[in-house]
């Protein structure tokens, strides 16, 4: 998926993403250029420095993995409901 909001994955979207990821039992990780971070950690998400147009990959492992990936993709694609 691609970060589509103009301001990138900054504090606000990262907070929303981490909140959402925390609701699932599965471990969700986000990948960017060989860097893996936990989707539950705002600090780690922010270190991705994912500006507008950055390509990210989501991976989830656990009982609700599919639901988690779907929900997160939806959030990212809706530009985090912020714009």
């Amino acid at each position: 998926m691609t970060i589509q909001n103009a301001h990138g994955l900054h504090v606000r979207p990262a907070t929303k993403l981490a909140d959402l990821a925390g609701k699932f039992k599965s471990n969700v990780t986000i990948h960017k250029d060989g860097q893996d971070v936990s989707a539950r950690s705002i600090i780690e998400l922010l270190t991705l420095a994912a500006a507008h147009g950055t390509e990210l990959r989501i991976r989830a492992e656990g009982p609700d993995a599919t639901e988690a990936v779907d929900a997160i993709a939806k959030l990212v694609n809706s530009r985090f409901g912020l714009e």
Binding site: H10, V11, R12, T15, I42, L46, A51, L82
Partner: protein
């Protein structure tokens, strides 16, 4: 618990939270956490987190109220989430590596920031995220270092200020109502911090090497300004003991102040003695009156030049001087002309010198900077129309200087006359006696000076050849030295013979230890820091002139400062036992 010893410079006992003034530099305390203190440090960190979360929540609330449609507050919610996320990592490193919370927080955030700045950032996106982390770090460190709420809430608690040294401009910037005590690494009894602390009755200990590394912001500390002791993180028993002492000290101070306020300033045999106040800021005039000051014996004017980036205008100065004259309501106010030299870094007026205490300072500098001098004289003269103003010149060493300064005053008077401005044509003009040549030949200066004011801080320093802020030679700074006593008596005698009033405005005049001695020398005008007025009054009301003369005679017969101080302590102890 850690007990450190320094120089006591302002008496009193106070217990409070440490606040490190130099925190902007974020100097991390080097101290590793003692194993038994680990849990307390974890607790301190968790408290700090709670406080920061509460602070940010307040900001969020304010934003929601002021901009209900915006989503800016979401950023702050993000900051709260970041703070919470830091907790396990930081707690872990306090426990595992015995880091202080300050160090642990800083380390974690620095690591994160390093990650962000390590790669290319053409859009500047990473830089913006770095700013978020820096903001969170600042908030946490500010609370951990003990600076809370600062300008924002105005509700910040009172604290004990720690600094390496306090420059005059730093002390000007402090909100004095929020300071419980002072502790510094440098300085002696007559350093700026010490004078300021005594003026406000704030306990202070100076000269504790490396103290700002030993103490972390937010530590509970006890300052004993009477004995010169600092206790960091006291145990329960010590705390209990000092709480009782703190209470009894406060009540003694208050009792003395209340007891003395309405009493006339006179000796037991009814000889009137002027008890005046030394002030640094116009706002202090009110406090001086509350302590029962009969006037202002020394109004330092350096504050005007520390505060302003630009030099003060005549109008600014005039208004300040007038406000003090009006606050004193007809009581005398002695304004001292600007007294700076190369040791005081003031608005770049004085340039560095190899030997600043013997250099271009006081009146010598004013002659070089005629623009500053004339502007100040105009302001003082114009203010003299609003009360009983007196003017004195600092650092006078020759009669020529007095004549020259007076000639300039006369010239300025003519100028004002021509402009039709009003002023007091009779305003007395006196000189500070603080240079040995002026003290030894005080009788000669009396031919030109309307009054003398002995500045003991500098006089003792010059007589003993001891830099008063150099802690290595601090024991040699001896106001009780026989040479100093003889010189003081001779100045007071010279004034009496020439019928010129003699006042004393140095630290010595506010030290109850010397009150009886100075009365015995014939001194009838004491100018002291406002908070010292009640104690000095108590001593002078307890002695007769005959007794004071006897004390003076006995003290003069002693061979060294040590014995003089011992003798005077014994005598004063009988009058105010609570002081010792």
């Amino acid at each position: 618990m850690q007990i450190l010893k320094g120089t006591p410079v302002s008496p009193g006992i106070v217990i409070g939270e440490a606040f490190l003034l130099d925190f902007e530099e974020f100097r991390m305390p080097r101290r590793a956490v003692e194993p038994e203190a680990i849990e307390a440090e974890v607790q301190r960190f968790e408290n700090a987190v709670d406080r920061v979360v509460a602070e940010i929540s307040e900001d969020v609330k304010r934003l929601e109220e002021s901009m209900p449609d915006g989503d800016l507050h979401l950023i702050f919610n993000g900051h709260i989430a970041i703070v919470r996320e830091l907790v396990p990592t930081v707690v872990d490193s306090i426990r595992k590596y015995r880091f202080t919370p300050e160090h642990a927080v800083s380390k974690k955030i620095r690591q994160t920031i390093k990650l962000l700045t390590s790669r290319d950032d053409p859009s500047g996106f990473a830089a913006r995220i770095v700013a978020d982390f820096t903001d969170v770090e600042k908030r946490l460190l500010r609370v951990l270092f003990g600076r809370r709420g600062d300008s924002k809430s105005g509700a910040a608690g009172k604290s004990i200020v720690f600094a390496r040294d306090l420059t005059p401009s730093q002390t000007m910037a402090l909100d004095r109502t929020k300071i419980l005590g002072f502790v510094t690494e440098f300085g002696g009894k007559t350093s700026h911090t010490a004078i300021l602390a005594r003026a406000h009755g704030i306990p202070a200990v100076v000269g504790i090497a490396d103290v700002t590394r030993e103490v972390s912001g937010g530590d509970t500390v006890i300052v004993d300004g009477t004995k010169g002791i600092l206790i960091v993180e006291p145990d329960g028993e010590t705390l209990k003991k000092y709480r009782a002492l703190e209470k009894s000290f406060i009540s003694f101070e208050k009792r003395t102040a209340e007891e003395m306020r309405a009493q006339p300033s006179e000796t037991r045999d009814g000889i009137a003695v002027a008890l005046l106040a030394n002030i640094e800021l116009p706002e202090e005039a009110k406090g001086a009156r509350e302590f029962g000051a009969g006037g202002i014996g020394l109004f330092r004017t350096e504050f005007l030049y520390f505060d302003a980036r630009n030099l003060p205008t005549e109008k600014e100065q005039f208004e300040k001087y007038r406000s003090v004259l009006q606050a004193m309501d007809g009581r005398p106010v002695t304004i001292r002309a600007l007294d700076i030299g190369a040791d005081k870094d003031v608005a770049g007026i004085a340039s560095p010198e190899r030997n600043p205490f013997l250099g271009l300072r006081g009146i010598r500098l004013l002659f070089e900077r005629m623009d500053l001098f004339r502007t100040q004289l105009r302001a003082v003269l114009r203010a003299s129309a609003f009360g009983k103003a007196r003017l004195m010149f600092p650092m006078i060493s020759t009669l020529e200087e007095v004549k020259q300064a007076k000639a300039i005053v006369a010239d300025v008077r003519e100028e004002l006359d021509a402009e039709g401005a009003s002023f007091d044509p009779e305003m007395p003009i006196g000189v500070m006696i603080e240079v040995p040549s002026a003290a030894i030949a005080a009788d000669i200066l009396c031919s030109e000076a309307d009054f003398l004011s002995i500045g003991t801080n500098d006089l003792v320093q010059y007589v003993m050849a001891v830099d008063r802020v150099n802690e290595k030679i601090a024991p040699l700074y001896q106001p009780g030295h026989p040479a100093v006593l003889r010189l003081l008596r001779s100045v007071i005698d010279a004034g009496a013979r020439a019928e010129r009033p003699v006042a004393m405005c140095g630290e010595m005049s506010g030290d109850p230890l010397f009150t009886a001695l100075l009365l015995g020398f014939g001194l009838r005008s004491f100018s002291v820091v406002p908070s010292a007025i009640p104690e000095v009054k108590k001593v002078l009301r307890s002695v007769t002139i005959a007794e004071a003369k006897q004390i003076a005679q006995d003290a003069l017969a002693l061979p060294d400062a040590h014995q003089v101080v011992e003798y005077l302590t014994e005598k004063t102890k009988r009058i105010i036992p609570e002081l010792f």
